[in-house]
Symmetry: C2
Subunit: 124 residues, 2 copies
DNA sequence: GTAATACTTGGAGTTAACTCAAAGTCAAGA
DNA sequence: TCTTGACTTTGAGTTAACTCCAAGTATTAC
């Protein structure tokens, strides 16, 4: 697949795909003899992983570290595990905060709905 | 409360507090005759709301709009409701994405744990 | 009253994560 | 072969959300 096809498949710009590769957030993509990107399944797997992590707010920097560790071989498996566990912890906290905010939003929304319903506000 | 006290209470910098006020993410804070901020309960409520929304990733711009609507009076209640509902929807989607990513992280973590446990990787 | 400290503003600087532009190279069709 | 359009890189520009700085004013301690 060309960069254009991949960008369409994942709804992400070509610039972003090239950027991810340039900064090392995904390993070097397979190229044709002419130097043009030709994404293979393993390249697509990396792209998908990168997009998934980014869409949850995981920093680019963290993915760069992970990719770096993967390149260094199996000896880095404990380090990779630790990195992933740390990120999971961060996402759990993020989730809790999200729920707290959702509760607050729901509370306010109910207030407004009632206000519109009864025609008056009885604010706290 | 002074800006310093508020910054300590909510673990946020004074600069950020002033920034929030300057851009209109919270209404103008009560001042002393000398022009120094003196946060009252209602000011603190706004600060707390702003921090809560921001910590869930809700854009500053959205809070600015909300504050603006509040200033314009009760006629904007339907608009405020709509704004809040839209943000709730966005947070719900964000939450789903977070869960998807967490699933993926958990899968990888289990793989690595097993690899360390058995001393070998049986990758997919 | 004066020194020290905390506050004020306006505006410039920073960071993360893209996003765009320019100038050149590659590949497919007439 | 020539043209057209997609691809390449390097490097600069943009956006959101702060973050910092300088110069000045207010408050508090002595």
């Amino acid at each position: 697949m060309t960069v254009k096809e991949v960008s369409e498949k994942y709804k992400i710009t070509q610039d972003t795909l090239r950027y991810y590769e340039r900064v090392g957030m995904i390993p070097e993509v397979t190229r044709t003899s002419g130097g043009i990107r030709s994404y293979q399944q393993k390249d697509l797997d990396w792209v998908e992983l990168a997009i998934c992590m980014r869409s949850a707010g995981l920093p680019v920097e963290v993915m760069i570290q992970y990719v770096q560790l993967c390149k260094e071989g199996e000896s880095t498996i404990p380090a990779r595990l630790e990195l992933l566990q740390k990120q999971r912890e961060a996402l759990h906290m993020q989730r809790e905060q999200l729920d707290t905010t959702l509760d607050r939003l729901n509370y306010k929304i109910k207030k407004y709905e009632k206000a519109i319903d009864t025609g008056k506000l009885n604010w706290d």
